[in-house]
């Protein structure tokens, strides 16, 4: 069919010759008016654009106001004491946040150790092991839906769950009480009696506890004891009623106790002290927070795995790799930067979370050091800030602001690490 024949046929085709609607005729003839119309529309468009810019600027402005007000309030307290000291009621000015920084990091560590493997594993299962069976597919879909719902559960509800699940463990392993062995202890604890010596000033010795049902001891005769280096030595007894004068040599006093001196049980714990239930410990807090961030980790990892080009995966399958080999050698390495970024952002969330910590650990901030063992409680930065911000004394308000600056700096540091990791891995 040649072009010429087409153009000659065309005019004879009656279908083409339809009347042009009045609207177009008029619309075209009234172009001047329509230009006016278009000018008006452009103005609306410009105004909308202006609104967009204004609102967007406003959100930046809010951030700026927030940062400035915090900086103004807190800058004078940004001293070394802030980083080395601990909360003090008697001398607010010498308060610091050292235990809180350590505590937050410790919780974050627990959180990372528990949430990351679980979260990444879940994401891998959901993204890479999609079943063909219709019921299993539904189960997959259900798990996915469940995860997005978990992401919407308020963190305080996770706190309540942590309270029942980790702190009390539904009282299934007993309760933690003073002067009694706490819960079901599994490892990391040695029991002693602590007895004051003649040296005074809180000098004490430890005597291994053989009978656990005996919470106290009364010293009536010399017996083996342990000094602070852990060496065993023979403990001397001095009878005040006897003729012998109280020993004067401090070295001897250290090793001597009054006849009839009593002592109570002391549980010496190693860092790996472990018991059930966890009680108000940083382990419980870390695990609770890991519940909070788990959905975030899963969703970020899923997204990251999803963005791995399917062609890479197919290449690997095409070479006869199994699913797990494909995951390990291809998908996971390619997704790791994204997963790491998501993980670090989730950690940032965990470091800033206060509500579940309040529920699990309580609001106490008087602590001078980081955790001594797994079952030790901690102070965290957000809880300390919550406490300080709630105190009307001006010094504490300033301290709160300064602590916020430190917290934001730590978050900033984490985010930069995330960005750095992402970039570095991308280059490689």
């Amino acid at each position: 069919m040649s072009i010429d024949s087409i153009s000659q046929d065309a005019p004879q085709d009656p279908g083409v010759q339809r009347p042009i609607p009045e609207a177009i005729r008029q619309g075209a003839s009234a172009t001047a008016e329509s230009t006016l119309n278009s000018r008006h529309r452009k103005r609306v468009s410009k105004a909308f654009y202006g609104l967009c810019v204004a609102i967007s600027l406003l959100s930046v402005l809010v951030l700026v106001v927030l940062l400035i007000s915090i900086a103004v309030q807190g800058h004078s307290r940004l001293t070394p004491t802030l980083l080395t000291g601990s909360h003090s009621t008697s001398e607010p000015a010498s308060s610091g946040m050292y235990p809180a920084i350590i505590g937050s990091l410790a919780i974050c560590f627990v959180c990372a150790l528990s949430a990351l493997p679980l979260g990444i594993g879940t994401a891998i299962f959901l993204e890479e092991f999609q079943p063909t069976n219709i019921w299993l597919r539904r189960l997959h879909g259900f798990i996915n839906l469940n995860i997005s719902n978990l992401a919407g559960v308020p963190s305080i509800v996770y706190g309540l769950l942590g309270l029942s699940l980790f702190v009390f463990m539904f009282n299934a392993f007993g309760q933690i009480k003073v002067n009694e062995s706490s819960g079901t202890e599994i490892m990391g604890v040695e029991r002693y009696y602590q007895v004051l010596t003649l040296a005074g000033g809180g000098d004490s010795v430890l005597i291994p506890q053989s009978d656990l049902s005996q919470p106290t001891i009364t010293i009536t005769e010399p017996m083996p004891a342990v000094d602070r280096q852990g060496n065993t030595f023979q403990l001397e007894v001095w009878d005040p009623k006897s003729e012998t004068p109280k020993p004067s040599d401090p070295a001897i006093r250290h090793r001597t106790v009054r006849l009839g001196q009593g002592g109570g049980a002391y549980a010496k714990t190693s860092w790996y002290y472990f018991r059930l239930p966890f009680g108000r410990s940083f382990l419980a807090a870390g695990l609770t927070l890991s519940l909070v961030i788990l959905p975030i980790v899963i969703i970020a990892s899923q997204e990251s795995l999803r963005s791995v080009s399917p062609s890479l995966r197919e290449a690997s399958y095409g070479l006869g790799a199994t699913k797990w080999q494909t995951v390990r050698n291809v998908s996971l390495p390619a997704a790791i930067p994204g997963i790491m970024t998501g993980a670090i952002l989730a950690m940032g969330r965990a470091i800033g979370e206060a509500a579940p910590i309040l529920v699990v650990l309580g609001a106490t901030v008087a602590k001078n050091s980081g955790p001594q063992n797994l079952m030790d409680t901690v102070v965290t930065m957000p809880v300390l800030i919550f406490h300080w911000a709630g105190d009307p004394q001006f010094t504490y308000q300033q301290l709160a602001a300064a602590a916020i600056i430190v917290l934001l700096l730590i978050l900033l540091l984490m985010n930069s690490v995330a960005i750095y990791l992402r970039q570095k891995m991308r280059i490689e």
């Binding site: 529309r41 909308f48 839906l145 919407g152 519940l291 199994t322 797990w324 800033g352």
Partner: protein
């Protein structure tokens, strides 16, 4: 070119170990995935189990719980005086959430439109990280901001018309908190609108405003709605800001200038005061928690369903 020995004489690795490893990994990974279901089950069991102590009490009736206008769990030492009507807490939550949504939804959406439709690379490079920074600010900080900056400003502006702790300053702070979330989720939704639709609109002579409002936003509507719902449930569940800034009096009113204890605020107060552990008053916190859970769970569920439908409509 002769084939290398390795191929001439292929010595295959045994697949037995591989198969075993594969099975093991699948089992481990499946356990991980099932654990997430376990968490949901755990939450529900915990909430139902604990709130049983509350709802089962003779002092509590479902009718009163849902319709009563007084909530005095913290105020009443004596269980006989305690009133358990959740409406005051709901009204507190509602006031804070409504104010937050009034701030977060329009500005979040408009910022999202700006980012996805207009912003140049440079502006994006500034604006996106800014929003990410806001999103990363711990909520305690925003609570502090609400108490120290927003509250006093409101009092100064209205010459003492606001309480020291009030729903508005908490609401504003929660709004700031939700804004980045609304923005980034809406932007995702806008982004998912095929470029072709925008080009179709521009090709017909639309201005940028008309393209956004008449074509892009309607096309992204379900995504935007689900972003709104998520933000809503986030605001309902927000705790620290309200614990710091909203006050601790549960009043059944719509006045945004007064104190308003929210559901989460009440839970924190009750937990902090460890009020009479084992009493009905204490367990009432689980009653509130279950209501909170149902609300947020419902919201996210609806959001998910909306989102799913819209995903299907594009593929």
């Amino acid at each position: 070119m002769s084939r290398p020995a390795a191929l001439e004489n292929r010595q295959f690795r045994s697949t037995g170990a591989g198969v075993l490893q594969e099975r093991l990994m699948v089992a481990v990974l499946a356990m991980c995935a099932l654990a997430t279901v376990g968490i949901t089950v755990g939450i529900i069991v915990m909430l139902v189990g604990q709130s049983w102590n509350f709802f089962n009490s003779e002092h509590v009736s479902f009718k009163e719980f849902f319709t009563g206008t007084e909530w005095t769990a913290l105020q009443s030492k004596n269980i006989d005086d305690a009133k358990f009507g959740i409406l005051p807490l709901l009204s507190g939550t509602f006031r804070v959430t409504a104010i937050a949504m009034l701030i977060a939804l329009p500005s979040g959406l408009i910022t999202a439109v700006y980012l996805s439709e207009f912003a140049s690379k440079k502006v994006r490079a500034v604006l996106k990280p800014t929003l990410e920074v806001i999103a990363g600010i711990p909520t305690v900080v925003l609570g502090y901001f609400a108490v120290l900056v927003i509250g006093p400003s409101l009092q100064w502006l209205t010459d003492g018309g606001f309480d020291a702790f009030n729903a508005t300053s908490a609401g504003i702070a929660v709004g700031i908190l939700c804004l980045p979330m609304v923005c980034s989720l809406s932007e995702d939704a806008l982004h998912a609108v095929p470029r072709a639709l925008r080009e179709g609109a521009y090709g017909l002579g639309c201005t940028p405003f008309e393209t956004s409002v008449k074509v892009v936003i309607p096309a992204a509507l379900s995504g935007i709605v689900s972003a709104f719902l998520l933000a809503f449930s986030r605001a309902v569940g927000e705790t620290m800001v309200v614990a710091l800034a909203a006050g601790t009096q549960a009043t059944y009113t719509m006045d945004p200038r007064t104190q308003s204890q929210t559901m989460t605020g009440f839970i924190v107060e009750m937990i902090k005061s460890e009020n009479e552990y084992g009493t009905v008053q204490y367990f009432s916190l689980y009653g509130v928690a279950i209501a909170l859970f149902v609300i947020t769970f419902g919201m996210t569920l609806i959001g998910q369903l909306v989102r799913r439908r819209y995903r299907e409509s594009y593929s």
